[in-house]
């Protein structure tokens, strides 16, 4: 399987497309800046949100039990899923028990993480994603490339092609308004005929047992309100203690994500309406392992706004699919190694550690610090490149020994032979697009001994 660097190289073969992708996401980052700079106490909001989430993580077991009890009292059926397999099985069991073979689903990165669609299709159940972006990538048979903007990697002309093939829009039609109308009427039929709807959960309130789903399209509401069975899947880290805390997160979420003041729909689900069933699945899938890793615990504060992706200069120039995991970008790069360290050993290295991600994070996750720490863990656990290890040993030896360093330096600056930019030949990746520095006549050390002593 190709790693991030190889997939990014493929993405970079079309430079104009890279420019377009970069500028599109940079525009979203700028919208985020405008929205956040309008709130004078923005940094205090971030700090407060961070503290609330840290409080939740410090007592997650009790909060989960409180939430479960309140949800049960409200008439919600609550399930616990240890991993993706259990989660998918629970969903299937609910559908199968009611003879349901078609389901509509609003955006849920958790179900992407669990590969629910694929599993249900194998069981003969048709799933239609109702978020517009998700529907587009579903029709294209691709995973989302971004957690908030799932088809941000597709141009409108390409979407027109997909809709022409699958939804019968006119050949060559690429007007966004017409394409959206096409999707709308297609989804309207889906909403009206589906007996079951699955939604994600943005926030779950421990003190009330209610959960909140945020969408711009109202598609979660359309699905849940029209279906006999509402299934909600949530990661166990989605809790907040009290309803009064919600305002802090709603103010942060969409400003960070797209620069909007708030999502168009922030819908509270508390109890099933008469005649409806409401099921809620609490999913662990590695989260309690991450909770046990002290250095990486607070990655579970994430509220999935995608701000770190939009600001990441590497993400913007490599595309979400280059991360080969459900949650791409900087946050994905610190979450994924927890699930499979070998498979995702490349991701913490797909960063320059520029720290912009940590600065935009609305819950102040120290993403850059965790990228650095994952690198140490991955090398220690033996998932690093063996050739690189030898070069690192040699470099460490040279740099630990001033005499060796000086001699190496005199001999044509070969101390730098372990430095990536030192040799101008086609085998050196540095040289592909860059020249090396011109070696000076003497090093500073040599100059100093001639001029100052």
């Amino acid at each position: 399987m190709k790693d991030h660097a190889e997939l990014a190289e493929v993405f970079n073969k079309d430079e104009q497309r890279v420019d377009w992708h970069d500028e599109t996401l940079w525009w979203v980052r700028q919208k985020r800046d405008k929205a956040s700079h309008l709130i004078p106490d923005w940094e205090e909001l971030r700090e407060t949100a961070s503290q609330i989430k840290l409080n939740v993580l410090s007592d997650l077991g009790n909060y989960l039990e409180m939430f479960e009890q309140n949800a049960i009292n409200n008439g919600v059926k609550v399930y616990w899923a240890a991993d993706a397999t259990e989660h998918n099985h629970i969903v299937h069991t609910i559908l199968k028990g009611r003879g349901i073979t078609q389901m509509v689903k609003s955006k849920s990165m958790l179900t992407e993480e669990c590969h629910l669609n694929h599993y249900l299709e194998e069981q003969g159940i048709e799933v239609i994603d109702s978020d517009l972006g998700e529907r587009i990538v579903q029709l294209a048979n691709e995973p989302p490339s971004h957690i908030v903007l799932p088809c941000i990697h597709k141009k409108k002309e390409e979407i027109g092609e997909i809709f022409h093939e699958h939804l019968g829009s006119a050949k060559g039609e690429d007007d966004p308004q017409i394409l959206t109308e096409t999707a709308r009427s297609h989804l309207r039929d889906t909403f009206l005929t589906r007996k079951a709807a699955l939604t994600g959960v943005n926030f779950a309130v421990a003190e009330t047992g209610e959960f909140v789903v945020c969408t711009n399209e109202g598609n979660a509401d359309m699905g849940a309100h029209l279906a006999d069975v509402h299934i909600a899947s949530m990661g166990i880290e989605k809790l907040i203690p009290q309803r009064k805390h919600l305002g802090i997160f709603l103010r942060l979420l969409t400003r960070s994500a797209t620069g909007q003041p708030i999502t168009t729909y922030s819908s509270h689900f508390k109890k099933p309406r008469p005649g409806q069933e409401m099921h809620l699945i609490l999913v662990d899938n590695g989260r309690s392992i991450q909770l046990g890793r002290e250095d990486f615990r607070n990655s579970l504060k994430c509220i999935r706004c995608g701000a770190c992706m939009n600001t990441c200069p590497v993400y913007r120039r490599s595309g979400g699919h280059s991360y080969h995991t459900a949650v791409a970008g900087p946050i994905g790069s610190i979450l994924a190694p927890n699930l499979d360290m070998k498979k995702y050993a490349d991701l913490p290295f797909a960063s320059t550690l520029c720290r912009s991600c940590s600065n935009v994070c609305p819950v102040k996750i120290d993403i850059h610090e965790q990228l650095y720490k994952w690198r140490q863990v991955i090398i220690k656990e033996g998932y690093g490149d063996k050739k690189k290890a030898a070069a690192m040993q040699a470099m460490a030896f040279t740099l630990s020994n001033p005499t060796v360093y000086r001699m190496a330096g005199k001999a044509g600056r070969v101390v730098m032979k372990y430095a990536p930019f030192a040799v101008n030949n086609s085998l050196n990746p540095w040289y592909k697009h860059r020249d090396m520095p011109k070696p000076p006549k003497q090093s500073f050390g040599e100059w100093y001994s001639e001029n100052r002593k």
Partner: protein, 249 residues
Amino acid sequence: MRAGLFIPCYVDQFYPNAAIATLELLEKLGVEVGYPSRQTCCGQPMANSGYEHLTEGCNTLFVDNFAEYDYIVTPSGSCALHLKEHLHTKDNNDVALGVRKKIYELTEFLTDVLKVDKLDAKFPHKVGLHQSCHGQRGLKLAQMTELTAAPFSKPASLLGMVEGVELITLNRADECCGFGGTFCVAEEAVSSKMGKDRVADHEHNGAEYITAADLSCLMHMEGIMRRKNSKVKVIHIAEILNGVKEVVA
């Protein structure tokens, strides 16, 4: 006041002029500067690649070289940040932690310790200031566009004291140049694209020179500009602040 001058390995080997300018500038400002001759590297190239466990030798050497000084000054934000955050030794960790507190990047030292408010230097050029990430977001040398907070910039304030410097406005004030240590070869495609884009921003806005408080970024952008025969040059901020003289190389 005795300051130890730390000249990182690649500056020592490739950019002696920046090091000379740093030394001369500090001396002009009345600082007693020592240069321990057994110095090499801050250890960051290994550490950022996941080999922090191989940096013990570099760390011990650094502590031995610099512990005696009141301040340690270096013309590299990235190396300064790495030392401030990660310098440790097995045998002498209390001393290492003490050394951390004495480390300053050059513009930080000029601004916060020496409180420089005028400079005798002239540089009549259009200059693009590259905000190196580790200096800016790590050492907080300048305000960051992500935050809702009052603007400031230590390097820009110092450049403002140099006669003739015209700072250009960039479209993206503080985006990374893509160097990232071994990232520049491990992720060659993205790294060089980031570098190209950064350079284009400076060129598009009329820079004659790109300056920064970090030579690693400048080396990266210089590599890209030399390849395409760009007229724009890179220059370390110390050379501008010291008053540029003829080139030694």
